[in-house]
Symmetry: C2
Subunit: 344 residues, 2 copies
């Protein structure tokens, strides 16, 4: 007879309007029989690591045209994570495989369509948690923004907002490796120090201490910005538009400042797009998942020889996930925010 175990789960309480709070999520303790239903083509997995990502905020609200589907109140949140296969009804996965992909926020989960939702982890020389970050959605996001959208050239001025976030730290490292002049902004002295001292950013500043973002950019990037990696939106984008150089490129990666507002903040100075001949290009990373093999070929050697570093900010236990998500919007994490649910 199959083992019955307790299964902690994080459920969405109700659709969220405005700022999200921990109380928007409910921690529930259920039980689960560790067995796939008869005839299932899915896999039963044990969750190891959860990836905490800003885009999830939009799924917590009701919207008909959410670019990813809204969560269902009363059901677990869903996000990226690393898991171990306990039982498989699918020919491409077997018991003992490690996988990453879209999983429920619950200790044990049945994934009905594993071929769509999961990737098998082939390289075990790096920590498994890296597949929530540098080897997962975060990493390929930075890779696409850098190589497919902006292609900074050596010597160009690159500005990265939310630079101490998981995508920002990778973009900074890619840009330095390319020979760019790199400016980053973040929300604390600790983060700014990290950018300058550990990651070799040429300039970094704490945006919370700047009353006038335009003036700050003029001070830290006096020659202007060729490439902007947009992670923030709103007032930051306005200030950037005033400081872009001719023929500049803006990669629209995310707008973290706009996720917890009821009405999207308007942006001035779009006339600059014309007068400065700018290109602003948005992308959604799952359109580019075919690039994973190429990306792994590039990044795995760089991780192993220490050229590119992965920075993780780990909380322990599924019960810490709601605080981790809410904390991310308050800028609490440095690097990739990970929840360690179980260590195998």
């Amino acid at each position: 007879m199959a083992q019955v175990v307790s299964n902690k789960r994080v459920l969405l309480k109700d659709y969220v309007v405005g700022q999200t709070k921990e109380s928007d999520m409910i921690l529930k303790s259920d039980t689960i029989e560790l067995k796939l239903p008869q005839g299932s083509n899915g896999v039963l997995v044990k969750l190891l690591y959860l990836s905490i990502d800003p885009y999830m905020r939009s799924q917590m609200s009701y919207s008909e045209d959410n670019f990813v589907p809204s969560f269902t109140p009363g059901s677990p949140l869903k996000g990226y994570g690393v898991a171990k296969v306990l039982e498989s009804g699918h020919s491409k996965f077997k018991k003992g495989d490690f996988v990453w992909g879209l999983v429920g926020w619950e200790e044990y989960s049945i994934i009905n369509d594993p071929e769509t939702d999961l990737f098998k982890i082939e390289d075990n020389d790096v920590p498994l948690s890296y597949y929530t970050g540098i080897l997962g959605m975060t990493g390929i996001t930075a890779y696409v923004a850098f190589n497919e959208i902006c292609s900074p050239k050596k010597g160009e001025y690159v500005y990265i907002s939310a630079a101490a976030g998981s995508v920002g730290l990778l973009l900074g490292q890619f840009s330095k490796a390319r020979g760019c002049y790199v400016i980053g902004s973040a929300g604390s002295k600790e983060k700014v120090d990290l950018l300058k001292n550990k990651f070799g950013f040429d300039e970094a500043f704490n945006y919370k201490e700047e009353k006038d973002l335009d003036a700050a950019l003029k001070r830290y990037c006096p020659k202007g910005i060729d490439v902007y990696f947009e992670n923030v939106g709103g007032k930051m984008l306005e200030a950037v538009l005033l400081n872009m150089r001719l023929y500049g490129r803006i990669a629209g990666i995310g707008m973290i400042s706009q996720h917890n507002v009821v009405e999207e903040e308007p942006v001035r100075y779009l006339l600059s797009v014309i007068t400065k001949r700018l290109t602003m290009k948005g992308f959604v990373v799952h359109d580019h998942y075919d690039l994973f093999p190429k990306y792994y070929e590039t990044i795995l050697p760089l991780i192993k020889n220490g050229t590119i570093q992965n920075v993780e900010d780990v909380s322990e236990g599924l019960e810490s996930a709601p605080a981790a998500l809410v904390g991310m919007f308050a800028g609490k994490n440095v690097g990739k925010k990970v929840v360690a649910v179980a260590r195998e």
Copy 2:
């Protein structure tokens, strides 16, 4: 001894803030000796046609980072026009040549750097005034936006704002020739009728009669917009962002609604750039003047066989130029606004 003639000129009175009015310009009657100064490498020209263009508005205000230099109060405005060479000190131009390019708003002008400012008109089979429009800056603007920026594909949904303006009418014709579904907006019933009945737009609407531009676009482009030719900015751009389809392209050509405002109107819904994977690309047409030979090769046969039509809205006499410019911002013209200063 050289002939001395009267020379009407339109001077900028002072830098303009907000809405421009006819009284911002002064009509002055000077005299001029029809002779180049000793040793000049320039050309003396007689102005025939003036092109009235929205971008000129930005030159009427003081700004250090105007993308084209501000006009000088007390001096004539400067814009595109067609002229005849009366005397030349430059080896590439000779007396009797017809030219188009940047000229002063005055009946007779000395152009000091004709190789930079003027193009020689080689094809005389089309009316000379066409070089203010379809064969001048207007034409190449539409060509670049269409071919270099957006490249609409057959069957795509193309929306053009200010569609009865000179650039808009060309874009509509290019798009119909490509086999696109074309929607246009303009500011009067007369213009809307012209778009639908004369130029075969699939849909057209009067934006002034629409309280809710988002709702209007949903009604006229229920399937959404693949390609938007942006001539307007502000609230129109907001409504378009809500109605773009995935992977849509926006060419930033101009933002006529933003020229006469003191503070640029902010734009919401930029998050759509990311969620819908949009590309918004601005350009300034004089970066692309190397394309003129290729453009003429394409467009001249189409004009001559009647496939593409040039629409002109002509005022008579240099004294009508201030009203023509002010009227353009009130949407008075249909097609290319031209001032006929002299007919050779």
